[in-house]
């Protein structure tokens, strides 16, 4: 069963066409990597999936669990299991991590017609997950992303993902701006999140992360279309030769 099916997707941002006929199918439990040079439309793909304003589909279709995704509000998509780890997570002063996590978690529970988790159990639930990511307890009481380093922001995205347990996780450059140690931590986090019921789209333009995560498929996005699909050998070739050899295909 395809959890996500994208057919002939055309997306414009402020009337500028960015995605120009993208096709992609993702099965339950699969991890696909989307690679591509800067400006090729990777974040645009992530943004249209989560319903960000300013991104408009001009042709094509996106099905999530076989149903039209774009008729749903961003929060409905989130509650239905779509999670985006943002490339640049925004700071929210005054609101600490626990507060957002609690609201978000309960919104998900409510959607699933489950009762709210009591405060004590939720606290334990959170502590299990901060521990798993090697985060200190006071992490939860820091205001969201305020003054976080690049690596801290990425880890915070992973924490939110671990708490919300999405069915479709889109990780937009979760590896960018990280040193080698931080990268390994993040890769371990991503691996910990792999699950036969959870699908992932890993957006990146470096193969480094993929070497540690081993995706099921690697796609290359250039000029608004997927121009190549393969396995790890494709990522390795991109590492060695760059994107140049694919540009002719894209043109």
């Amino acid at each position: 069963m395809n959890i996500l099916e994208i057919k002939n997707l055309h997306v414009s941002v402020l009337n500028k066409p960015i995605l120009r006929g993208l096709d992609l199918s993702l099965k339950e439990g699969e991890v696909h990597a989307i690679m591509g040079p800067n400006g090729s439309g990777k974040s645009t793909l992530a943004n249209i999936l989560v319903g960000r304003g300013d991104y408009h589909m001009t042709a094509g279709a996106i099905l999530y669990h076989g149903e039209d995704l774009l008729v749903r509000t961003p929060e409905e998509r989130a509650r239905a299991g779509i999670f985006l780890a943002f490339q640049n997570p925004v700071e929210i002063p005054g609101v600490n991590n626990v507060q957002l996590l609690k609201e978000a978690f309960n919104a998900h529970r409510k959607y699933g017609q489950l009762p709210e988790m009591d405060a004590m159990s939720f606290r334990t639930y959170l502590q299990d997950r901060t521990k798993q990511l090697g985060l200190s307890d006071d992490w939860l009481f820091r205001p969201i992303n305020v003054g976080f380093s690049g690596g801290e922001k990425k880890r915070n995205e992973l924490l939110q993902m671990l708490v919300l347990e999405p069915q479709l996780a889109i990780l937009d450059e979760i590896d960018s701006g990280l040193d080698i140690d931080a990268l390994t931590d993040v890769a371990n986090g991503v691996n910990a999140l792999r699950h036969h019921r959870r699908s992932m789209l890993l957006i990146t333009h470096y193969p480094r992360l993929l070497e540690q995560v081993h995706p099921d498929k690697v796609h290359v996005l250039i000029g608004g279309r997927l121009v190549a699909t393969g396995g790890m050998e494709l990522a390795v070739r991109l590492e060695e030769q760059g994107y140049g050899w694919l540009s002719e295909v894209a043109a």
Partner: protein, 481 residues
């Protein structure tokens, strides 16, 4: 401890206290002259000194001009078109026992979430309920009396505790202090009186609940709280009014007096009817609130959450007279739609080593206009005085505004006064981030707003803090698309 529930916890949507109680009332026809004041004083069976005090204030008021220095804008008020007295009881005779109170009145308070019967009301809170011009019932009086605490309506205090009233009334806010205070002194109808004897730590929260019911009446209540040496009291004030499309005037005066080593903590959750989304109707809330730290090491703190009223114009202040006295002002003011708020505080440092802190959180949405106006004044004798002020503004949308007017006057070189201010706007990016985590836009705004003012909300007694959060949520409705 559970709620006096100044405003009911089942709060759902928009202004839910807008209902009217249909009850016969004894109302003096609109208009103001010396005859009206005599009549009012006679109805309240006041001693002679009170009538004289009112008359002096009235004559003073006649020579005064309505102030227009604040940033709020409103059409001029016709003071002859207001009724200065409305009572649900004939001849101001509030029933002696609760069982004699009109069930409709009790039902009104039940509906507002404030059970007046002591059996029903929850242990930790004593309530004085003011309905239009008159105090309806004061609960837990006996228990407090055993400790020597006087907690009763102002009318009763004028009759039964006239020595205390004569000594303290107007000693912090003199009748001629300002236009609205003078008007209040002339026509004040009821309010709460509270005296805590030396060394007594008041065992429960004292609370007044104000309700404007009658149309075309003003509410001019007067509250006087005295904490004698080394005593402590925590006091809560809540208010609502029916939804009417004409503006109604509310001009209250609150005076607090803290003697040596005493502490008064005064919290307000103000939810007067704010008017509709187009700015029709709503309460004009023009209030003078001032506390005096009269004795050494005395402490007064004001905590306010202002979500209601069409116009709010108030500056709860502290006069720091005693050596080592401490004053605090913590405020959250929300303006949405066409609401206007000009609020802040004055900290007047007179005594040596006096400290004060100010924390103001202003939130503007819709076409709301929110101004913080604060004065920190350090007189020559106030060596070692210290003040820290922090004023933060949060904007939602493009049409609203926030302004900060800090005035600082320092006449003593050894004092230290610090002021910080910030302005921020809730961004589309922040809202989207929360939405992507499963929150609706309303939930996102409410999360961010609550985060913005949590330092102040934390100061409120638990149940009031829950109320306040709900009020903020309800009053922010419709502020995001």
């Amino acid at each position: 401890m559970e709620a006096p529930n100044a405003v009911n916890s089942a709060m759902s949507q928009s202004y839910k206290h807008g209902f009217v109680t249909s009850i016969p009332s004894d109302t003096i026809p609109a208009g103001l002259d010396e005859g009206v004041i005599r009549l009012l004083s006679a109805k309240k069976r006041e001693p002679e000194f009170m009538l004289e005090w009112r008359m002096a204030a009235y004559r003073h008021w006649q020579g005064m001009k309505e102030p227009h220095w604040s940033s709020v804008r409103y059409p001029s008020i016709d003071y002859q078109n207001i009724s200065y007295y409305s009572s649900p009881f004939a001849n101001d005779q509030a029933p002696i026992a609760l069982k004699d109170v009109d069930p409709k009145l009790l039902a009104t308070y039940e509906r507002l979430g404030i059970p007046l019967s002591e059996r029903l009301s929850l242990a930790g809170v004593a309530v004085d309920a003011v309905f239009d011009s008159v105090s309806v019932a004061t609960t837990h009086k006996k228990r407090l009396a055993q400790l020597g605490i006087v907690f009763c309506s102002m009318s009763e205090a004028v009759r039964e505790h006239s020595a205390l009233v004569r000594r303290y009334l107007g000693s912090v806010v003199p009748p001629g202090d300002n236009f609205f205070a003078a008007l209040n002194a002339a026509v004040f109808s009821d309010g709460t009186f509270c005296y805590i004897p030396p060394g007594v730590h008041c065992p429960m929260e004292l609370s007044t609940y104000f309700r404007i019911n009658a149309a075309e009446t003003g509410q001019f209540e007067r509250t006087l709280i005295i904490a004698d040496q080394n005593s402590f009291v925590s006091y809560l004030e809540g208010c609502t009014a029916p939804q009417r499309d004409r503006h109604q005037l509310h001009a209250a005066v609150v005076e607090l007096i803290a003697m040596e080593g005493a502490e008064i903590s005064y919290s307000t959750v103000q939810n007067w009817y704010p008017g509709d989304a187009e700015g029709r109707g709503g309460i004009y809330n023009f209030v003078t609130k001032r506390g005096e730290c009269r004795g050494d090491r005395s402490r007064i703190s004001w905590t306010q959450v202002e979500t209601g009223s069409a116009i709010t114009w108030k500056y709860p202040s502290v006069v720091l007279r005693g050596e080592g006295a401490f004053g605090r002002f913590h405020s959250v003011a929300l303006t949405n739609h066409h609401q206007q708020a000009d609020t802040g505080t004055k900290m007047i440092h007179i005594g040596k080593n006096t400290h004060s802190t100010i924390l103001s959180k202003g939130i503007s949405a819709g076409h709301g206009n929110n101004a913080y106006r604060g004065l920190v004044k350090v007189l020559a004798g106030a060596s070692g005085a210290r003040n820290h002020s922090q004023c933060d503004s949060l904007l939602l949308g493009q049409e609203c505004s926030a302004h900060t007017y800090p005035y600082i006057e320092v006449k003593n070189q050894s004092s230290k006064v610090e002021h910080e201010a910030t302005t921020s706007r809730i961004s589309e990016e922040q809202l989207f981030y929360c939405q992507q985590r499963g929150l609706s836009r309303e939930q996102a705004v409410s999360l961010i707003v609550n985060g913005f003012c949590q330092e102040v909300l934390r100061e409120l007694p638990m149940e009031f803090s829950v109320e306040a959060r709900k009020l903020l949520e309800v009053n922010l409705e419709g502020s995001v698309g």
